[in-house]
Symmetry: C2
Subunit: 343 residues, 2 copies
């Protein structure tokens, strides 16, 4: 904690005192019982995901403000729900906190979480605050999904189109600009800000779910249970495609020129650096979806221009990056080889 010694510390108000201060981030009717109560829609499946973030391992005051750490923690969990096709119901926050931490740091962390959650109408419904030598945040997010529209890693079928809901590589570029500001000397302020914002305030793509539902309904496909495949790209675009292919026992052909990239990249980075960040940067929190072509085309048409069909699922179980312009040789992407190749 780089907080002033004059600031009130958690140990001065205790866990109960801190809990009192955090109550303003929860709906009033959620406070006081052994557990939170929520209403779910009938005929929906319950979707649950959990993440643990440790200070010094997953976040640090050196690179991330507490507000941004809070936003990113909430966004990562909501992104996991989006990746399953689920609408969020709420999150619980388990906080293990060092007594020397400034109370204001914890409040800023919750403010950042809340800023993200409010965009997606998601309440903090419960939690726990305990003392610990190391600040640790455990978030469990739960949501609900139509059982016929759950997006799974195992559902990709040969012939499906591979859709990305937006740009990849921006979050990594933003982080690099924060760590090495001189990297951005040839970028405009607006370009730098866009990339840094992509790192600090990533947006979980819950916004695409109603559009996807609408397409499935209007195609009379909602009740016929077309398998939908996908996951989020929190660990990178290449990771998402490879994981989906592994779990679905299929392969993929990705067309290099079709992958949307940050507009600042071409005049700023070498093609090698650009494709490394796009494929392996991670933390863009976009969705990588594998869908029947007709649905994929409707989806891309209705989403903003940053979404795109970038390839096809194949029977052959390799993940190939191809370049129909002929500028680059075909490559087979493996997670480990990929990383080695690009480093």
């Amino acid at each position: 904690m780089s907080e002033s010694n004059l600031e009130q510390k958690v140990k001065e108000i205790g866990e109960q005192g801190l809990l009192q201060k955090l109550h303003r981030f929860c709906p009033p009717d959620m406070i006081g019982d052994d557990a939170a109560v929520m209403q779910t829609l009938p005929e929906q499946s319950l979707i649950v995901t959990t993440d643990v973030l440790v200070e010094g391992v997953h976040f640090s005051d050196r690179t991330t403000s507490p507000e941004d750490a809070g936003w990113r923690a909430a966004a990562a969990n909501l992104s996991d729900l989006a990746a399953m096709g689920a609408t969020p119901l709420g999150i619980t926050v388990g906080l293990a906190i060092n007594g020397d931490t400034a109370v204001s740091w914890v409040e800023k962390l919750y403010q950042g979480m809340n800023d993200c959650l409010q965009v997606y109408h998601t309440p903090i419904v419960g939690g726990d605050v305990v003392r610990s030598p190391i600040n640790t945040i455990s978030i469990t997010a739960f949501g609900q999904a139509n059982p016929n529209c759950i997006i799974r890693r195992t559902n990709a079928r040969p012939g499906y189109a591979i859709v990305v809901t937006g740009i990849h590589g921006a979050a990594k570029a933003g982080l690099e600009l924060l760590l090495n500001p001189e990297l951005g000397k040839n970028l405009s302020d607006s370009e730098k800000n866009t990339l840094i914002k992509a790192h600090q305030r990533p947006k979980p793509r819950l916004d695409i779910l109603p559009t996807l539902q609408e397409i499935l309904s209007s195609s009379c496909l909602l009740s016929s249970s077309i398998p939908l495949a996908g996951m989020d790209s929190s660990d990178g675009l290449a990771d998402a495609i490879i994981q989906i292919c592994k779990f679905s026992q299929v392969g993929a052909k990705i067309e290099r020129s079709q992958i949307p990239i940050p507009p600042a990249f071409p005049n700023w980075l070498s093609p090698e650096q650009s494709i490394e960040w796009v494929l392996y940067g991670g933390e863009d929190f976009e969705l990588v979806l594998c869908l029947p072509l007709e649905i994929a085309e409707s989806l891309v048409e209705k989403l903003n221009k940053e979404s795109a069909i970038i390839g096809r699922i194949t029977q052959e179980k390799t993940v190939k990056l191809i370049d129909s312009t002929g500028n680059h040789a075909d490559e087979i992407l493996h997670l480990s080889q990929g990383f080695q190749h690009f480093k």
Copy 2:
């Protein structure tokens, strides 16, 4: 960790390696997606609770085996569900782990959790494993409850009977016997084992929920939404009564002689020591319920003989411990005064 240096450590197999080993504790269809999927019953409310446990703060190899730490962590969360009247659907486990921890320690922890969860047919549906300087376990449990039968701290009404589902003080006595074995020199092995087991393997009182439901159904009360009040006694019997009274804006009269206590206590402890452990010992994970007298009487009749009606909710907002045998003066219980009085 008091583990041998020869044992395999978490850092040797990594987080992914550890996750692979822990998969055997999860249903196979839960593994691989961004989130877990569960079916819920229609017309039920979703109930969610979360707890964070930190090594050295909430558990320690010095007093608790990893199996017992796992059992107690699972039991505490299931008890929170029971306290709301909810049947468990599953738990998620977020594990932050020091790389020097023995892999076998983590497996024993999960074995203990699983041993407890299996009794209550509750799966581990998801989780996260990350590295951290300090071993930390975050559990989120979720269950479902009939919206008309949710047990809340705010629902106690003057005239309600106060029911305890079992004995209090045993878990505290068991812990003291583990810390100071010479304390038990006048106890039989069977008495010692019963008390120690109460500390190591507490049982969440999910078993009473079907009985309570049955009574409400047969009284035609299920659909008329009689307010049910209660919570678990994880922080002690006195704490539970005081919290319920505070949240319901009522008071209580507790009849000292009606509180079920461990059979070993009268010939072993002074009356002062005995009532201290019974009221303030904590971690017995019984339920303290406040119910209309008719329902309370039926419930106590159907539960085992260790349950009892111990008092009444009053309009007057004090919590009084009274002794109709005249051996002890009446006392007003406050959380802080109570602790001071008894220490």
